[in-house]
């Protein structure tokens, strides 16, 4: 634990101290310019990493936000006479507001459409900067003077330190944010937006907030950019810069502050280093050597495919050979970038920093941080004595898809504390019914009453009422660990407001959430797998993890949608035990299941659906004898034939 803290925090402190000390040792204005650019691009790329890395969206508007921030800062100095800090605050605010406005419509879109929406935003902003000549002087460019900072003029060295301090502040704030519930939510909604809504994490809200925050950082960097160069032209913030920024994030490594920092140094320094012939030759030779070594190592250990090993070697080889024939490397800058990007994307899909982090963790044997002891289950899920009164009432519920009547007038009453079975043939409307209850689909007609009050519309709203669910087709956050999966859904723990989270004051509730989540993992016997990512769990354990995650909502009503599907006999027995222990805590359960022996053992009451309507209701024994149920669902084949299937 201590070693982890020392190594990771130590590395950060050393790097920042070194960066701060360089101008004291070297007095070279060219080097100082590069360092300032590095700090500015660092802030810029950390902002871009929020959307590209954490939200997993291709964001093509970041260069535009840099430009808007730059002009906002420049104009508020020249027109309004603002000082440095207030001008920077203005540019950040411009990014935050415009980012939020763009995000509202754009984040309703997915994948390529989102990318196109951001692309049209940058086209729009470039046109405005160009054509609104009265304000921006258009293509002629805008002169910006560096304003005073708390009554002092700032020289180049002082400005560099200011940029570096801002980078450090942004770094710390983002580290706090991304290691809190916010960061977890960002990653979770990339894996399964449906599940984040169902688990009470507003998908859309978080996406908009993340995008606005990233854009605000981009515009803050823009303000610094304006005061650094003191001359702005709209075309500096065009497509070329945008591509280079994306390159920086991917090269450096997504979802990592260090990655953004490395990306920034590449973006800021490489073009300048490449113009020096000797440096270029050294870089390309080192690149080739690295590709050869990494490829050979990967092939020997069989961790990479031949294509992955060979393609980077060929690309770097081309760079070395090409370097011998090309006269001016500066002219070939984009081609060189392209070859490097290709090598990294193919050979190191997680970026330079992702690769280095894995390597360093092995080298220093850094353990993941220790986990707190699990909470007592009674404090996480207090046992309640149910009163047996009606909890959920469906009245003549209907849901049509076009002409298909998936649910066609279903009335069910679920009593509190019971396990209520819902069975029926495939396509009989069971899953549609629970999707309507949990808010994924709106009902076409009918009423749904919880405690006599109408259920709200939308999964996010329903998740707040004490209704929680699992999914027939697993909807886990597959990249997150088992522990994080449960922590994302944890209800009633995260109370710290955002500004305090940024200041790192949410650590206490984070520990508490960990302890509570461990207690729930223990309930489904996954405690020892807390750090395993969900996608690496066995299929059965993934089913159990979904149950633990649903319990983190501390539900009054838990809907289990085919929890035993695909489970082998030992796991089915384990599932039955888990459901009993949830039942003992007084939680009402709706169980959709095809394993009739599970249904018979657990359920107090069973409703049978067929063709979207209720065809039978009663105890498990009653419905099993019902001729309509036998004909539609159980089948009439002799008992021994499919003994374990029935």
């Amino acid at each position: 634990m201590l070693k982890r803290l020392l190594l990771i925090r130590g590395a950060e402190i050393i790097v920042f101290a070194l960066l701060a000390a360089i101008p004291l040792m070297v007095s070279n204005s060219y080097a100082l310019g590069l360092l300032t650019l590095l700090a500015i691009y660092g802030i810029l790329l950390i902002g871009l990493d929020v959307t590209v890395g954490y939200l997993g969206q291709v964001n093509l508007a970041h260069a535009a936000f840099l430009g808007l921030g730059a002009y906002a800062a420049g104009l508020s100095v020249s027109l309004l006479g603002f000082g440095m800090l207030s001008a920077l605050a203005v540019s950040m605010l411009v990014g935050l507001i415009l980012g939020g406005l763009l995000a509202f419509p754009a984040l309703r879109l997915e994948g390529p459409q989102f990318a196109l929406a951001t692309l049209s935003f940058s086209a729009l902003s470039a046109t405005i900067l160009n054509e609104w000549e009265g304000l921006t002087s258009g293509a002629q460019g805008l002169q910006v003077s560096r304003p005073i900072f708390w009554g002092h003029t700032v020289n180049a060295q002082g400005f560099y330190w200011l940029c570096l301090i801002l980078l450090a502040l942004v770094w710390m704030a983002m580290r706090n944010l991304l290691s809190s519930q916010w960061g977890r939510a960002f990653e979770a909604l990339r894996d399964s937006p449906i599940a984040t809504d169902a688990m009470g994490v507003g998908t859309y809200r978080h996406k908009v907030a993340g995008f606005a925050l990233g854009s605000a950082l981009g515009s803050l960097a823009g303000g610094l950019y304006a005061f650094n160069f003191q001359y702005l032209q709209p075309q500096s913030f065009g497509y070329e810069l945008m591509v280079i920024l994306l390159l920086g994030v991917v090269l450096g490594g997504r979802k990592s502050l260090w990655g953004a920092f490395f990306g920034a140094s590449l973006v800021a320094l490489l073009p300048n280093l490449l113009s020096n012939r000797l440096l270029f030759e050294i870089i390309s030779a080192v690149g080739l050597l690295a590709a050869l070594l990494a490829g050979a190592r990967g092939l020997m250990k069989k961790t990479t495919q031949p294509f992955q090993a060979i393609a980077p070697i060929l690309a770097m080889g081309l760079l070395v050979v090409g370097g011998m024939f090309v006269k001016n490397t500066e002219d070939w800058r984009k081609a060189i970038f392209a070859l490097m990007l290709f090598s990294v994307v193919v050979g190191l899909p997680e970026g330079l920093m992702g690769f280095a982090a894995r390597f360093l963790i092995q080298l220093f044997r850094i353990d993941p941080p220790a986990l707190p002891p699990a909470s007592v289950l009674d404090t996480v899920l207090p046992a309640k004595a149910p009163n047996g009164a009606p909890l959920l009432k469906l009245q003549d519920l209907k849901r049509y898809f076009g002409g298909v009547k998936a649910v066609d007038g279903v009335s069910i009453t679920v009593h509190s504390g019971r396990i209520h079975g819902l069975i029926g043939p495939n396509g009989s409307g069971k899953s549609t019914a629970v999707n309507v209850i949990s808010g994924l689909y709106a009902p076409s007609a009918g009423e749904m009453l919880l405690h006599g009050k109408a259920l709200p519309r939308g999964m996010f709203q329903v998740s707040k009422t004490g209704v929680s669910r699992t999914f027939q087709n697993l909807q886990l956050f597959s990249e997150l660990s088992a522990l994080d999966n449960v922590m994302v859904a944890m209800k009633g723990v995260y109370r710290t407001p955002l500004p305090l989270v940024l200041m790192g004051l949410a650590r206490g509730e984070e520990k508490r959430a960990q302890a509570d989540a461990l207690a729930l993992l223990e309930l489904v016997s996954l405690r020892q797998d807390a750090r395993v990512s969900a996608k690496d769990l066995t299929y059965g354990d993934q089913r159990f993890l979904e149950i633990a995650r649903a319990l983190a909502r501390k539900p009054e009503l838990l809907i289990l949608d085919e929890p035993a599907a695909g489970l082998s006999l030992p796991d089915v027995n384990k599932l039955v035990k888990i459901i009993w222990s949830i039942h003992e805590r007084g939680i009402t359960i709706i169980l959709i299941e095809h394993h009739m022996d599970v249904v018979s053992e657990l359920c107090d009451m069973v409703t049978v659906l067929d063709g979207g309507r209720v065809i039978a209701e009663g105890s498990a024994e009653e419905v099993k004898r019902d001729p309509k149920v036998i004909a539609a669902y159980l089948g009439t084949a002799d008992e021994a034939d499919t003994a374990d299937a029935v």
């Binding site: 043939p425 495939n426 695909g566 159980l634």
Partner: protein
């Protein structure tokens, strides 16, 4: 017809299969049973080439196929009806079936005439699919999709067919129908490797069975012999 020797496979650094060996003789139905996470589906994927095995051999009709691309192995006569059915949702039932025969059919002209006989055979086996032939596969019920997945595999006229969890998430009445289908396939002489959670039902249709635990085969035999094995009985047959 299908021989698997000492097969190793895994995902990234996690090793799932650690030396699995099994054999499927021509015209036989062989069942592979075991707990979740034992490596049954991984075995299927490693055989059909969807996952490259790290070590070991897979012989199809005497010829080694391990390490080849999945499409290549399919053309050599192995059809895989995967877990979760994986039908082509937006395409019609009939187009799904025709894609199953892709490797035998001409690309542009005459593929309908050439496939008519095979289509008839599948429609005779699953009359429901004939009724739904123009309906998008994604709108079929779970049971119908499973029939379609089996029918699609049959269209390739495979030497060996892999059938992964055909009963998953289906109503009991449909599960019975799936097992009846497997019996009919067996009567037609199809060579079949079957992974199934309903171990009891699987053993009833199988000629021979393997029990898998932690990436290895731990027991094998004719169903009657396995029924005598107390450990297998307790763990998988309830």
């Amino acid at each position: 017809m299908l021989v698997v020797e000492n097969l190793h496979a895994g995902y990234g650094t996690s090793k799932v299969l650690t030396g699995a060996s099994l054999e499927v003789a021509k015209g036989k139905v062989v069942a592979l049973i075991g707990a979740n996470g034992a490596g049954k589906t991984t075995t299927m994927r490693a055989i059909s080439g969807m996952l490259k095995p790290g070590k070991g051999r897979v012989l199809l009709d005497g010829k080694p196929v391990q390490g080849k691309d999945a499409s290549r192995i399919a053309r050599l006569g192995l059809a895989h009806a995967p877990e979760g059915r994986k039908v082509f949702g937006p395409l019609s039932t009939e187009d799904n079936l025709l894609l199953g025969a892709y490797s035998h059919l001409p690309l542009f002209f005459g593929f309908r005439a050439k496939s008519a006989h095979d289509l008839e055979r599948v429609y005779d086996l699953f009359p429901l699919l004939r009724e739904r032939r123009l309906q998008a596969a994604g709108t079929l019920s779970g049971g119908e999709q499973q029939m379609l997945a089996i029918g699609r595999a049959l269209m390739a006229n495979p030497k060996v067919m892999l059938l992964d969890e055909p009963s998953m998430g289906l109503a009991p009445v449909i599960v019975q129908e799936v097992f009846n289908t497997i019996r009919r396939l067996k009567a037609e002489g199809i060579t079949l490797l079957l992974v199934e959670q309903f171990a009891k039902s699987a053993l009833e249709v199988a000629d021979y069975a393997y029990v898998m635990e932690r990436g290895r085969i731990v027991a094998e035999g004719a169903p009657a012999e396995l029924h005598k094995d107390e450990r297998v009985l307790a763990a998988y047959l309830g």
